[in-house]
C-alpha cells in the first residue's frame, strides 16, 4: 500500500512549503504532489523538468447564442447566481455551470461548454517525480483539480513502485483543503506561535477530526514567541495531538529559498537536524498506522 502524508498550515506563510520540500529531499522513495494549486510554489525549489501536461476541465460555462435569443428573460429569472446580465450575457466569474439556464431556455439558445480551467503536470525533479498544477484565474473546482493531482500522483506511485506520496496542501479549510486531506494516512499541520497561527491551527485540527485523519503538528519559528509556542504545545497535548517538531526561526530558510534549494541540502544548516528528526518521527507514525 502506498502511504500518503499531507502537509497543511491553515494560514499561509508558516513555512509549510519550505518544510515539505525538505521532506521531499529526505524521502528516498516518494512521489511529490503540490496541491496548493492556486499558489503553487514548490516548483521554485524543486525545479521540475516537465514530461507530461494535462488540461484540466472544471465546470462547464453557459453560452448564449445571440441569434436564437429572444430576450425573454427566463434564464435571468432562473439563474440563482445572478450570472446572466440584463444584456443576456453570461458573467463567467459568477456562472457556476449548473445548467439550469440551458434547461429553461425556450429557444434552446443556451449551450453549456467545457472550459479549460487549468493544467496539471508530471515532472522529474532531483528528488523524484512531482505532480503539480496551475489553476486558471478565478476558477472554481480547485478541489477537483487537487483530486486530479492526487490521482495522477497515485498512478505514478503505483507504476514506479514508490511507497509514499508527499502532498503539499493549500491554506484554509474549504474545498481544496478537504480534497487534499481526505483519504491520507497522516496530516502534518505547520503552524507558528502567533494568535492567528493558533486560531487557524485549531480550525484545521477540527477539520482533520471531522474526517477522522490522524494529525501531527510542527511549530515553526517557535522562538518568535516562546509563551505562545508553549500554549500551542499544551493545547495539542490536551487534545492528544503529537507535536513532532519545534523549529526555531533561522535566516538560512530564506537564504536557501533564494538559492532555490531545500534547507536540508546545506549540511551546515542548523535546522537540517531538526527537520530530519521530525521526518523520522513522521515516518514511524505512518508505519504505525498500518491499521
Amino acid at each position: 500500500m502506498v502511504k500518503q502524508i499531507t502537509i497543511i498550515s491553515g494560514k499561509g506563510g508558516t513555512g509549510k512549503t519550505t518544510i515539505t520540500s525538505s521532506f521531499a529531499a529526505l524521502a528516498d522513495n516518494a512521489v511529490i504532489a503540490d496541491c496548493d494549486v492556486d499558489a503553487a510554489d514548490m516548483h521554485l525549489i524543486l525545479q521540475p523538468d516537465t514530461f507530461e501536461t494535462h488540461d484540466f476541465y472544471g465546470l462547464k460555462l453557459a453560452h448564449i447564442n445571440k441569434d436564437l435569443c429572444t430576450g425573454c428573460d427566463t434564464c435571468v429569472l432562473n439563474c440563482r447566481f445572478d450570472a446572466i446580465l440584463e444584456s443576456h450575457i453570461v458573467d463567467p466569474y459568477r456562472c457556476e455551470g449548473c445548467g439550469v439556464c440551458e434547461y429553461v431556455c425556450p429557444e434552446t439558445a443556451i449551450v453549456m461548454k467545457e472550459k479549460k480551467a487549468g493544467e496539471y503536470y508530471c515532472s522529474h525533479t532531483r528528488f523524484g517525480p512531482l505532480v503539480h498544477a496551475k489553476l486558471g484565474i478565478g476558477e472554481e473546482a480547485s478541489g477537483k483539480l487537487v483530486s486530479n493531482v492526487r490521482q495522477r500522483a497515485s498512478e505514478i506511485a503505483e507504476s514506479s513502485g514508490k511507497g509514499l506520496i508527499i502532498i503539499d496542501g493549500p491554506p484554509g479549510t474549504g474545498c481544496s483543503v478537504i480534497a487534499a486531506m481526505t483519504g491520507t494516512d497522516l496530516v502534518l499541520v505547520v503552524t507558528e506561535p502567533t494568535v492567528s497561527g493558533i486560531h487557524d491551527l485549531d480550525r484545521v485540527l477540527q477539520v482533520a477530526r471531522h474526517f477522522r485523519i490522524p494529525v501531527a503538528v510542527c511549530i515553526n519559528k517557535c522562538d518568535l514567541n516562546p509563551e505562545m509556542s508553549q500554549l500551542i504545545f499544551d493545547h495539542c497535548a490536551e487534545n492528544g495531538v503529537n507535536v513532532v517538531g519545534r523549529i526555531p526561526y533561522n535566516r538560512m530558510v530564506i537564504d536557501a529559498m533564494l538559492e532555490g534549494k531545500t534547507i536540508v541540502e546545506n549540511p551546515d544548516n542548523e535546522l537540517s537536524g531538526e527537520i530530519g528528526s521530525m521526518w523520522s518521527v513522521l515516518l514511524s507514525m505512518l508505519g504505525d498506522n498500518n491499521g
Binding site: 512549503t17 510554489d41 521554485l44 478565478g138 479549510t173 474549504g174 494568535v195 492567528s196
Partner: protein, 284 residues
C-alpha cells in the same frame, strides 16, 4: 470607497495591512472575507454579535411521490444527487442550491430546505468608529463564496470599506475582490512572494481593478519584487520593514499602529495615494 487587501499566497501580512489601515483611518468598515480563516478580530478583540446565518438551499425528496426517474441526478452538475435503483440520495454538502433538480422533477417530489454553512458576525469599536463584519465558514463545509457574497451585502458605500480577502487566485478571491474600487496586493520580497504576486496581479488585471503593492518584511529577501514592480510600472504603496518588534507585536495580536503611532500617518498617506489613483483612473 471599497478597498480590497489581497495576496497571492497567505501569511504575507494581508490581515496586518487591513487592520492597521482601518485603525489608522478610523470611521471605516472592515469586512473579514477570509472566511476559511477569519483573523481580523484576533487583532481587534471586538465583542462580536451574531447577525445571521448563511443559508444555502438543498433538495428534500418526498419518497412517496418520487418515481425514481433519475432526471434530478442527470441535471445536477455537482454530483449532489445520486439516483439508485431503489432510492434517490442527496449529498447536501455538494449541493450548490441551483434549483435545477426541483425544476426538472416531473412528479413534484422535490422541495427545497435550507441549511446553514456559516455565519456573519458584527462588532463595533466606538473609539475608532470601526464597524467589523466577520464571516466564518463552518468546519467541513467546502464552499466559501456564498459566505463572502452575503458578507459583502453589508458594505456601506457612504464610508470606506476595507476588505480582507482570502489568499490565492481561485473563486473565493474573485468573490471578494470583484466590484472593488482598488486592490492592495500584499507580498514579501522573496522568490515565493514574487511568484504569488505575479499570479495576483494577473487576477486584478483581468478584473480591471486599479492596484498597488505593499511589500511586507522588507529587507528579508532579495529585490526581485521591487524590480518586477518597477518593470511593470506597478506602484509600491508602502514597505513595512522586517522588524522583530513588529513580528512580536503581530504574534501577540497587537496591531502595530497602536504601539508605533508614526505608522498611522504612513497608512493615512497610503490611503490618500489610493484615493488619488482611483479618482484619476491611473494604475488600471
Amino acid at each position: 470607497m471599497r478597498i480590497a487587501i489581497a495576496s497571492g499566497k497567505g501569511g504575507t501580512g494581508k490581515t496586518t495591512v487591513a487592520v492597521n489601515l482601518a485603525l489608522a483611518l478610523g470611521s471605516a468598515q472592515l469586512l473579514d472575507c477570509d472566511v476559511e480563516e477569519p483573523n481580523c478580530n484576533l487583532f481587534l478583540g471586538f465583542g462580536l454579535e451574531k447577525q445571521e446565518d448563511v443559508l444555502i438551499s438543498f433538495p428534500e425528496i418526498d419518497k412517496d411521490k418520487c418515481t425514481l426517474c433519475g432526471r434530478c441526478a442527470d441535471i445536477c452538475q455537482f454530483n449532489a444527487i445520486a439516483a439508485l435503483p431503489k432510492s434517490v440520495m442527496v449529498f447536501p454538502k455538494l449541493c450548490h442550491g441551483c434549483g435545477g433538480c426541483s425544476l426538472v422533477c416531473p412528479d413534484g417530489a422535490i422541495s427545497e430546505a435550507a441549511r446553514s454553512i456559516g455565519m456573519i458576525e458584527r462588532g463595533i469599536d466606538e473609539s475608532f468608529n470601526i464597524e467589523l463584519f466577520q464571516g466564518t465558514l463552518d468546519i467541513s463545509e467546502p464552499m466559501a463564496s456564498p459566505v463572502i457574497r452575503q458578507l459583502q451585502e453589508h458594505i456601506d458605500d457612504s464610508t470606506v470599506a476595507i476588505i480582507d480577502s482570502p489568499p490565492g487566485t481561485a473563486c473565493p478571491v474573485i468573490a471578494s475582490v470583484a466590484e472593488m474600487d482598488y486592490c492592495v496586493l500584499v507580498t514579501e520580497p522573496t522568490p515565493f512572494g514574487l511568484n504569488d504576486l505575479v499570479l495576483a496581479v494577473a487576477v486584478v488585471k483581468q478584473l480591471g481593478i486599479p492596484f498597488g503593492v505593499v511589500i511586507n518584511r522588507h529587507g528579508v529577501g532579495d529585490d526581485g519584487v521591487e524590480q518586477y514592480c518597477q518593470n511593470e510600472a506597478i506602484p509600491v504603496l508602502m514597505k513595512i520593514p522586517f522588524d522583530r518588534d513588529i513580528a512580536v507585536l503581530y504574534s501577540k495580536g497587537t496591531p502595530f499602529v497602536k504601539q508605533m503611532p508614526e505608522w498611522g500617518s504612513k497608512f493615512r498617506e497610503m490611503y490618500r495615494d489610493i484615493c488619488e489613483c482611483v479618482s484619476s483612473g491611473v494604475g488600471v
